[in-house]
């Protein structure tokens, strides 16, 4: 059965006519064309589908849109709303933290949530924040380095010397 659902996605109010049993992941990818959010299992195991909901990293394969009325949803397409890439995105690209790139959107979302809560995380804090995101390419080292680099650059912007 389909019904209209109103969602706040990447700063825009979007009305979608969709099946009520569909997950947020499916609505994003199939109904809204936001294919930046990926899926590796659709069972809440891999972290590839992570999105921000009111600033918290949430697995979009485990929530249904009717639960999200009035909440702010941010996907990888929305973490840099002014058209310039987020420092995390630039750092991931520069350091080779995205190899195949498939886990990257989920990693970036988890890292964005981390830096919002903790602007200068140390290594254990980064590991804690990204522990739910699997990556099979990088061995995680470059991902940790990229988060550290982005945090450093963002703090320089906040506190110019």
């Amino acid at each position: 059965m389909k019904q209209p659902v109103t969602l706040n996605i990447n700063g825009h109010i979007r009305e979608v006519w969709t099946s009520i049993h569909k997950t947020l992941l499916e609505v994003l990818r199939e109904d809204l064309g936001l294919t930046g959010t990926k899926h590796g299992c659709e069972l809440g195991e891999c972290g590839a589908c992570t999105v921000l909901i009111d600033g918290n990293p949430i697995l979009s394969c485990l929530v249904i849109p009717v639960e999200l009325l009035g909440k702010e949803i941010i996907t990888v397409e929305g973490i840099a709303p002014n058209g310039r890439p987020h420092e995390l995105q630039t750092a991931f690209a520069e350091l080779g933290a995205a190899q195949c790139g498939y886990c990257t959107p989920g990693m970036l979302i988890s890292a964005t949530a981390l830096l919002m809560a903790n602007p200068r995380p140390d290594d254990p804090a980064i590991r804690e924040a990204l522990a739910g995101n699997l990556c099979r390419c990088t061995g995680y080292s470059k991902i940790i380095e990229a988060v550290e680099l982005a945090a450093e650059r963002m703090s320089e912007v906040r506190n110019p010397s």
């Binding site: 099946s19 990818r29 064309g33 936001l34 294919t35 930046g36 959010t37 990926k38 899926h39 590796g40 299992c41 659709e42 069972l43 195991e45 891999c46 590839a48 996907t75 990888v76 397409e77 840099a80 890439p85 995390l88 995105q89 630039t90 991931f92 690209a93 520069e94 350091l95 080779g96 995205a98 190899q99 195949c100 790139g101 498939y102 886990c103 990257t104 959107p105 970036l108 980064i126 590991r127 990204l130 522990a131 739910g132 995101n133 699997l134 990556c135 099979r136 390419c137 990088t138 061995g139 995680y140 080292s141 470059k142 991902i143 940790i144």
Partner: protein
Amino acid sequence: MTDHGELNLVGKSWTKIDSMSKVVGDTLYADDMHLPQMLYCKILRSTQPHARIKKVNLEPARNFPGVIAAISGEDVPMKFGILPVSQDEEALCVDRVRMVGDPIAAVAALDEATAEAALEEIIVEYEPLPTIMSIDEALSHDEVQIHEYADLGNIHKLVSLEFGSIEQGFAEADHIREDIFYYEGNTHLPMEQHAAVAQYSAEGRLTLWSSTQTPHYVHRALAKVLELPPSHIRVIAAPVGGGFGGKSDPFSHEVVACKLAMMTGRPAKITLTREEVFYTHRGRHPVLMWIKTGMKKDGSITGMHFRSFLDGGAYGSYGVASTYYTGALQTLTYPIANYKFEGARVFTNKPPCGPKRGHATPQPRFALEVQLDKFAEDLDLDPAELRLRHLVPAHSKTVNHLSVTTMGLGDCIQKVVDASGFSERRGKLPPGKGLGISGSSYLTGAGLPIYWNKMPHSGVQIKVDRGGAVTVFCGSTDIGQGSNSMLAAIVAEELGLSLDRVIVVTADTDLTPVDLGSYSSRVTLMTGKAAISATEPIRNMILSAAAEELDVSPGRLAMSENRVFSVDNPTHELSFEEAAQLAEATYGTLGAVGSYTPPRRGGRFKGAGVGPSPAYSYSACVAEVTCDLETGQFTVDKLWLAHDVGKAINPMLVIGQLEGSVYMGLGEATMEEQVFRRGLHKIPSMLDYKSPTIFETPEIESYLVETNDPEGPYGAKEAGQGPLLPVPPAVANAVYNATGVRVDELPISPEKVLKGLHDLARGKPGRVGPTEFPTIEYPEPVQVEPPEELVAE
């Protein structure tokens, strides 16, 4: 290149050309594609591990509202497979299923949920057959053959090779050891589930977008199975969300999407669920190994006899090559004077094994390097010293006729020994802490193609635009390792361009010359060499036209920074586009091709096709572990890895390959395993199939060793697979050093360590691992004389 022959891009760590698209979420993977009128396909899979199919009734599915088409085996009966010698797969099983998860029927519907619901309506009647789930069962039950074409009973492939005289080798030894090892099977677990989209045009042309590492081989398989002329089929590799060897076969779901698109005239998409990815598999073979080695007191190896049993699963896949690979590369590291290899791959009713990163060489490397550790202890030698004293010389031939060019293993071992303090710290660490070491070697591209032909392995075509952009066309497939970026950088380097001037078009059988694909660590060397050769005519035409305009001899011109200039007066210059336009006016449209075929090397005996490569990479690893001697729990605290890459075209990307390989090797060493029970895969999910998270992945300290190999572009060798190989044995050797427990069976779990600790406490040997090795009758070995120019120590 600059006028001084200095390199602008090669050797530097620039950003990959497609990275930004990946991080902003723009990259379109196969499942991200949507075409107008597109249908969604689903495959019904066998619930039986081994059975005859008595009946498949598709009618209820066909009548299901929203279903457009339904097919079963008889609609696509032609068999296929990656190797010409094992064409044993059916897109949908015709009369027999050989594993749980085998494809039986497929539907195309208006949406995925409808397709899934319609599958439930299909009626399948099975007649169960005896099930074979292990090497032992395969060897003891030949009353029912999983495949009738097997060499013997359920032995798919049986090989026996002897180089020199193993008998004489053992006669010359001062010390002989026999050991048995087991390496459990595991899977690639790419983050992206395989997906494919097929489109059949009104003109009768078929296009397939697929997450594949080998579009050329998929092209060939589709032509065969669909009985279409290859000229009417276009295969495009979509960006691949992780491969590691798991997307190198032609797959049933690709055939199914194509067939349903052809039948309906509408685009058809299929995306495997994670559970289906576990059935598609082609992962690491479980291998049981017996290794008997003779050594002199100084540690030189007089003879090695190696036997392997590979648990191949239900289909051939790359298995014949895998069988040979379990015996091919042992000889590349430390000279082996006489060598005998006997290998057997068996069929079982489990998902088919194939090529996973390192393709059937991590298992024998594990056995060899752990046994060397035992030898070092027996002979009271330092394990690093033992290896360093006996290295295969550069520019030599091994006993099994492999030609070694550059050989940096000594430097690799020295690097990790120095960095980890291996020699000083080992033996002086507190109880429960330990260090282990291992070396290894891997090929830089298979010397022979998968199907016999004399054509190039890689082709590159270049087109120059009047605006100063250069487009490079090549069949090679970027699976995240950065091969497109490597291709762009080499062309930019040769033509003196900035990276943003080069446009790369790859992995499209309509548009790009054939490259065999992303497997066997072949792309940088083979595509790189083809690219260099394709730039030569372009460079010559541009230099010649510019020379006339500038009134300078072509030999006194250089190309760099998007311009052509006199080396004697660098301000006397043309922009690249000006020079390209002059060249076009003189020579006509600017285009060129280049190709690469590996040198014909290796012996001339049956089985000599597996092992030869233009060049071999070398790696060494030291692992440090901490074990809880009460519980057996252990952590890998740090890994040091040095890799002889020949020359790093982009050191950052090479380090990325090293770190990723080390991580994957660590997973195989400590936790990853396929588990089956009563014909069922017990853990076909990412939650139950344990792989290292960011918590279990320790600091990895990487070192690059550059030996500048004459065979590689700018001296480059491979980096994507080799660095995995030394990790499992280094971890196993470290666990022994920490605990006194020898776990001769991967993965090393805390339970196995604890069992060893208990045995030690009761005065028994603290060894955990297989104790029995099946005896079978091997054929008379193919006897091969060692090469005459073998450099002996």
